[in-house]
Amino acid sequence: MKDILTTENLTFDYIRRDDEGNVEGITTAVDNVSLDVKEGEFIAILGANGSGKSTLAKHINAILYPTEGTVYVDGKDTSDDKNLWDVRQSAGMVFQNPDNQIIGQIVEEDVGFGPENLGVPTKEIWERVEESLKAVHMYEYRKKSPNRLSGGQKQRVSIAGVLAMHPKCIVLDEPTAMLDPSGRKEVIRAIRALNDVEKITVILITHYMEETIYADRIFVMDKGRIAMEGTPKEVFSKVEKLKRLRLDVPQVTLLAHELKKAGLPLSDGILTTEELICQLS
């Protein structure tokens, strides 16, 4: 499989300045990160607040450029101005707060904004709007005002808006942080379907460990670096290490870990209730 995303020694410094504009200090938010993501992968990125996850994500669609190192999206160097539109079209982004991302008065208008902006012919815009809304199961709401939707529905409209631009990769930065339990479930289901059915590469940043158990690989960030990398099973086997990194494991993994500590013969990194039951009986 081809790489959709490659970072080579990516470093990003935030420069803090005082009121007069003098440099007060430099914070290295991303520190020498090299990674690659294959087309069609489902990647999750975990990490404490301030570990550099969002800064890394913003490099994937050229909102930020590396201070040092290089980022390639679908083979194109993001620092090269002439690649800007290609990069943004290849990698779409969804943020935490749905209310900051929806601009249209009607759902279908909102979803059509992206392709319209790309200069897609009108007839094709409507086709894209229809398929995108269908992919996130929001087609029946196409004539509604976004204000009338729940948080999970709004977030799915945001995802449809990105889908309509036909990206190869979609980066979601804590898309469920503000949602209620059913909203979280709806959004995660939609994201998994994009990956499974549409074969779109997904990069999901989250603080909810449960949302990452279906990922192909998890990257754990700490102080701007990649501290751990592996399958969910490998990563979540390291309960104590994750806690030191201010993270957690899924509830079922934690319960299995505690049962194992109490002397039961269980394996590490149990991720689902079915697995736990199977090993208990």
Partner: protein, 282 residues
């Protein structure tokens, strides 16, 4: 300092074609020193309800009594009510605005009319109680981490010495350790300062781990009002209204179905651990 809501109804844009009933006939009593979890899907009326508790919104009909007095009375002192009932909004750190942490926390008590010295003393105590170290008192709030900013914002409300603290999703956007730190802090304030706490949350695990009573809202009404154990026993009904139970509840139900004699009322990891080990030993 009990709070009583008696048949409270609240209608947004009443008298227009857009009118919508956000609260429909809510009656409940909140006693001194309770630790309550308020859950419900987006739009169920939680936020409208909590805004009534300190008089930011007044009922369209029905009454609210704080410490026995009707807060709708024309001579009722709303400013005093807001001192007693502190409200911490979602993402409270977005409301930090002063040039340093200490000034930000002093602002509230000064605004309530306390003299400079008294306001500084209460701000100092509030910052200490949320665990902000002294060397951060004079840095810009914008240079703090997400969890620290949120603590400062909570200190700003604590500096008013409230008897009731209402927090709307205080852990949203924090990493797991940050979540635990904020929740342990809230529990400590509840246990040591005897503050009544009302925690609005979308995390069923957090609610199960910390509160003594859960109020479930749906469609502007109270759907359930009981202990965590009893509320989460209704997990299928909770799913029908956009909620869920803690992960542990589902694990225990599945184990029971497989024939292991566990306590399906367990809602926390500790309870589940104890029950599973007990069932296996038998």
């Amino acid at each position: 300092m009990s709070i009583i809501l008696d048949h409270v109804r609240y209608t947004y844009e009443s008298g227009t074609t857009h009118r919508s009933d956000a609260l429909k006939d809510i009656s409940l009593k909140i006693d001194d020193g309770e630790f309550i979890g308020l859950i419900g899907h987006t739009g169920s009326g939680k936020s409208t309800l909590v805004q009534h508790l300190n008089g930011l919104l007044m009922p369209t009909s029905g009454s609210i009594y704080f410490d026995g007095k009707d807060i709708s009375d024309s001579d009722y002192d709303k400013k005093e009510l807001r001192r007693h009932v502190g409200l911490v909004f979602q993402y409270p750190e977005h409301q930090l605005f002063e040039s340093d942490v200490f000034s930000d926390v002093v602002f509230g008590p000064r605004n309530m009319g306390l003299d400079k010295k008294a306001a500084e003393l209460t701000a100092y105590k509030a910052l200490e109680s949320v665990g902000i170290p002294h060397d951060l008192f004079y840095v810009s709030p914008f240079d703090l981490s997400g969890g620290q900013k949120r603590r400062v914002a909570i200190a700003g409300v604590l500096a008013m010495n409230p008897d009731v603290l209402v927090l709307d999703e205080p852990t949203a956007g924090l990493d797991p350790a940050g979540r635990d730190e904020i929740l342990s802090l809230i529990k400590k304030l509840h246990d040591e300062k005897k503050i009544t706490v009302i925690l609005v949350s979308h995390s069923m695990e957090d609610v199960a781990n910390y509160v003594g009573r859960i109020i479930v809202m749906n469609d502007g009404m109270i759907f359930l009002d009981d202990t965590p154990k009893n509320v989460f026993a209704h997990y299928t009904e909770l799913e029908d209204i956009g909620l869920s139970a803690p992960a542990v509840t589902y694990i225990m139900a599945a184990l029971k179905k497989k024939g292991l004699n566990v306590d399906t009322g367990a809602t926390t990891i500790d309870e589940a651990l104890y029950s599973i080990l007990g069932a296996l030993r038998r």
